[in-house]
Homo-oligomer: 504 residues x 2
C-alpha cells in the first residue's frame, strides 16, 4: 500500500507540489461535462448564493446588517411570503395521504368525496408509482380543463398529456428528446427565463435570440422574429423550436391574440414547432388583456396553420395556487408525431413517474370545486379564497410598477401578468467603471449592493440576457403582507437614491 502511494509520487506526477493539482482527487472540475460547466442559471446564481451566506449570518446573530431578515424576491415563491394555500386543496391532499380522515367528519362532504374518488382511482395507493405519464384520472381532468379553456376546439386526448414534477422538468425532458445536432436552433425571447438558455447549453443546441420590445411593453414583433431567424440561418443554424413565455417571465407582458396568430404563422412558415410556456396563464392583472393559449389561437386559424406542432407547459407552482414545493405540472402535446411521442414517454418512464401528490394537485388545479361537482358552500368558500388571492396579487403587481417608476433612474413597464417586474435601471459611467474594476456586470454590482444594504434579493438582468448596454433586474411582485411590500419598496427606494448619489 505504501509502495503504491510512493510510486504515485514518483511517476512524473508530483501532484502534491503542483499548484493546479493541490487536490489529489480523482474527480476534478476537468472531468465535468463541458455542457454542464457552461450552463448558467441566474435564479440561483451569484446573488442568491451570497444571500444564503447572509441568511446564515443573520441566523447566528453575529452581523452588522441594517436588516434582520432577507426579502427573497429572487424567485417566484408565493408561500415563502406567507401566501395561504387554498384550504379545499390541502384538505383533499391530507385526506388522500391519510385515508382514514375520509371516514371522519373533520372535513366536509365535498372534500371527502374528492379524496375518496382519488383513492379509488389510485387503487388506494398514493404511495405507489403511477403509469409513466401519470394517473389517468388526473389526465382526464387536464383534458377537460383544456377543452373548456379553449372553447372545446380540438381538445386533446389523455394520451396527449404527460404529468411532470413542475414545468421545468417537462421543458428539459422534451428538449433532451428533440435536440440531435449542435446546429439545431432554439429561438428564445430575450429577456428570458434562464431555464431556456441553461437547457439549451445542456443539450448542446444553439440559442437564437429574439428581443422583446421594451418600449412596447416587452411585446413580441414579427419583424424581430424574422430578423432573428434570418440571422441564425446566415450562421448555419437551423431554428427548430420557437419558445414563447406568455404571460412573460421575467417581463410580465401578456401577448395579444394577433401576436400569437402571427407567431403561429411564423412557426408554420419556417417549419418550426412551438414551445408555449404558459405557467402564468391564471396570472393576468390588466383589464385590457386576456390570456389566450397558443392551442386555442392555433385551433381557430384555418388550414394549414392549425396544424402547427405545439408543446404547452403548465404547472401548479404559479397561478393562484403557488404550490411550488409540491412539484406538479403537465405537458400537452398537440399534433405531435406518434413515434416522437413514444420517445418522450420512454424518457419520462426512466424516472418512473412524477410525484403523486403533485399529480393530485394538478387535478385540483384543473378541476376546482364548482356548483356542478360541489355544494354551494364549498364553491363559494373556494371562490372567495381565490378572489382574495387574485385581488391581492393584482394590487401588488400594480404597486410594484407604480413604486418602481417613481424611483431615481428606474423605468418599469406595466406588469400585465406573471409574478415579476423587470425594470430598466440607468447606471452612469462611474458605476459601470466601478463594477468593471470588480470584474462584474454592472447590474450584478447594483443587485449585490441592494442585497448588502437592504436584504432585498433581486436578480441582475444579465442573468436573463438583455440588449447590450442596457441594465435591468428582476424582482418578484409577491412580497406579503402588502404593507410590508410598501415598506420594503420604500427601503429599496431610499437605498437606490443613496446609491445613485454616491456615484454622481
Amino acid at each position: 500500500m505504501l509502495k503504491k502511494h510512493f510510486s504515485t509520487l514518483l511517476n512524473n506526477k508530483p501532484f502534491l507540489l503542483q499548484p493546479d493539482n493541490l487536490s489529489s482527487k480523482v474527480l476534478t472540475i476537468n472531468d465535468i461535462n463541458p455542457k454542464v460547466k457552461n450552463a448558467e442559471y441566474a435564479v440561483r446564481g451569484t446573488v442568491p448564493t451570497r444571500a444564503l451566506n447572509i441568511r446564515a449570518a443573520l441566523l447566528n446573530g453575529n452581523h452588522n446588517y441594517k436588516f434582520d431578515k432577507l426579502t427573497e424576491c429572487n424567485i417566484g415563491n408565493p408561500q415563502i411570503f406567507g401566501q395561504k394555500p387554498i384550504s379545499f386543496n390541502r384538505q383533499v391532499l391530507a385526506s388522500v395521504l391519510y385515508p382514514e380522515l375520509i371516514e371522519t367528519e373533520i372535513f366536509n362532504q365535498d372534500v371527502r368525496n374528492r379524496a375518496r374518488f382519488y383513492s379509488q382511482r389510485m387503487k388506494h395507493s398514493i404511495g405507489a408509482y403511477s403509469d409513466s405519464c401519470g394517473h389517468l384520472f388526473v389526465r382526464e381532468s387536464v383534458v377537460k380543463y383544456i377543452a373548456q379553456r379553449d372553447n372545446h376546439l380540438l381538445p386533446p386526448d389523455t394520451s396527449d398529456i404527460i404529468l411532470t414534477d413542475g414545468a421545468s422538468q417537462g421543458v428539459s425532458m422534451v428538449l433532451n428528446a428533440l435536440i440531435s445536432d449542435p446546429r439545431d436552433g432554439i429561438m428564445i425571447p430575450i429577456p428570458q427565463y434562464p431555464l431556456y438558455s441553461a437547457a439549451c447549453t445542456l443539450q448542446g443546441a444553439s440559442e437564437c435570440h429574439y428581443y422583446l420590445d421594451e418600449d412596447k411593453g416587452w411585446q413580441v414583433t414579427i419583424e424581430e422574429l424574422n430578423r432573428s431567424y434570418k440571422n441564425s440561418k446566415k450562421h448555419g443554424i437551423n431554428p427548430k423550436i420557437l419558445v414563447v413565455i406568455n404571460p412573460g417571465n421575467p417581463t410580465g407582458q401578456v401577448l395579444s391574440y394577433k401576436t400569437i396568430e402571427q407567431m403561429i404563422e411564423f412557426a408554420y412558415n419556417n417549419r418550426m414547432i412551438i414551445f408555449a410556456d404558459e405557467v402564468y396563464q391564471d396570472n393576468v392583472y390588466t383589464d385590457k388583456k386576456y390570456f389566450y393559449s397558443f392551442k386555442k389561437v392555433r385551433s381557430e386559424l384555418s388550414k394549414p396553420y392549425n396544424d402547427v406542432e405545439l408543446f404547452s407547459f403548465h404547472s401548479t407552482s404559479k397561478g393562484l395556487l403557488g404550490e411550488c414545493g409540491l412539484r406538479g405540472g403537465y405537458i400537452e402535446l398537440c399534433n405531435i408525431d406518434e413515434k416522437v411521442k413514444e420517445q418522450i414517454i420512454k424518457l419520462r418512464s426512466m424516472f418512473l413517474c412524477s410525484n403523486t401528490i403533485g399529480q393530485c394537485m394538478t387535478e385540483l388545479m384543473c378541476n376546482p370545486p364548482t356548483l356542478i361537482n360541489s355544494s354551494q358552500e364549498t364553491t363559494e368558500q373556494y371562490q372567495k379564497e381565490k378572489n382574495d388571492l387574485y385581488n391581492s396579487l393584482k394590487r401588488r403587481a400594480e404597486i410594484m410598477t407604480d413604486k418602481l417608476n417613481k424611483m431615481t433612474n428606474i423605468e418599469c413597464q406595466e406588469v400585465e401578468g406573471a409574478m415579476y417586474a423587470f425594470p430598466r435601471i440607468h447606471l452612469n459611467k462611474k458605476i459601470i467603471e466601478e463594477a468593471q474594476k470588480r470584474k462584474m456586470e454592472p447590474d450584478l454590482f447594483y443587485c449585490l449592493n441592494v442585497l448588502e444594504n437592504t436584504g432585498i434579493v433581486i436578480i441582475p438582468g444579465s442573468g436573463f440576457r438583455q440588449k447590450d448596454d442596457t441594465y435591468h433586474f428582476r424582482i418578484t411582485t409577491l412580497i406579503l403582507p402588502e404593507e410590508y411590500q410598501m415598506q420594503q419598496l420604500d427601503v429599496f427606494s431610499q437605498f437606490n437614491d443613496e446609491f445613485h448619489r454616491q456615484y454622481n
Copy 2:
C-alpha cells in the same frame, strides 16, 4: 395563405406522395436525439406496454383472458399490491399539508410535535420551494442517520447531502455532470437495473460490463472486475465510474464486507470513483448477511483507500416504506471535490428543488420514532408495523425462491435482499427457434406468453442484460396478500409446465 400552401407542395418536396413521409409533420422520428432513441428501459418496455393494453381490455370487459386482473410483477411497487404505509409517517405528512390538524386532537402528541417541527423549520410553507439541495432540517436528519448507521465513522456534513425525487433522478443528474467524453467508461454489473444502461446511453458514455457470478449467488468477483477493466482499456475506453447495486437489483444478492473492501481497493487502484446504489439497504432477508454501506467499509479501511470518492444513493421508495409515489431520496457525496459539487448543485437548482413531501418522507425514513424522540406507545406501534412488514417481505422472498426452484426448467438463486428474484430459465432449441421466427429474444417470447396466459407481468432478462445464451426474467417478490402470492405462483407454475410441454 393558399398560395403559401401550394408553394410547399410545389417546391420539389412532394411530401404527400413519398411513402417515407406520409406524415406531413415537421417533427419526425428523424429529429430525435439519437442518444434518446438508443436508450432502452425494459422495466417499462415491451411487456409492460402490452400489459397496459391488456389492462384496458380487462377493464372494458371485452376479452377472452383466463384472468380478470393483472399481477404487476414488473416493478418494485409495494403499495400497488396493497402494502400499507406506516401510519405515523402518513399522519405527519397529512398534518404538514393541512397544519390546522396539528391544533386538533385527531393525531397523537408525537405526530403533532413532528409536524409542528417540520412546519416551523419550513416557515409554515410546505408549498414553497426549498433550497436547491433540500430543506436543511431534512439534510440534518440524513446526516445523523448515516452517522449512526456507519458507527459515526467520517460522518457527512449537511453540505454533502442533496435531496432528490427518488434515486433515479440522483443517478441520472450526477452522470449528466460527470460524463464529458464518449470514451468515459461506466462499469455496470450485469445483470443490472436498466436505469444504468439507459443513463449511460443518454449521456453518451461507454458501458463496461462486469458479470455477476450466478453460480456464486450473483456475487461480484475481483477477477471479473479486473477482466472487465482491462478489456475496456484495450478498447480505448477509460473506466471512470464503478456502479454497484447492493443489495442487488435485479439479482437480490447482498455483498459481503470482504467483497466491498476489494471493490473499494479496485476503484482506488484504478483511479475510479464509486456509485453505490444502496436503495435496498433495509431489505436484507437472510440471517447470514448484513448490509454494509460502501461509506462505512471505506471509512474502516486505512489510507489511501479510505479516500476513495463515492456517491451513495438512497430512496424512500423501497425499504419498509415503499413510498414510491411520493418520490423522496438523497445523494450522499463522500470526499467529492468542492468544484465538482458546485456543478452538481447547479444542475439540481435548474429544477428548483425536489418535492417537499418527498423531502419530509426522507426525514421520516431517517428519523423514525424512537424512545428518545417519542412516547413508548408511538415507538412500539411504529416498531410493530415495521416488523410486520419486514417479516412479510422476508416470508414472500423465501416463498418466491422456493416456489421458483420447484418449477420446470427454472433455477433461482436465493433472494437475500431487495425485492426481486431473477431466476434462470432453460429454454430448448424449439422455443428459441419459435422466438426467432417472431424476431424476438427468447426470454421476451417466454414473458409475453406468461403475460397472455396468466396475467402475471414479468420482465425478460434481456432487458437487464445477461450472459450470452442464458435466459432469465425478473419477478418482484412483493405480491400481496401472501395467500394470493402462493396462488399466483401456482398458476405460473402450471403455465410454465404447459409451455415447456408444448415445445417438447
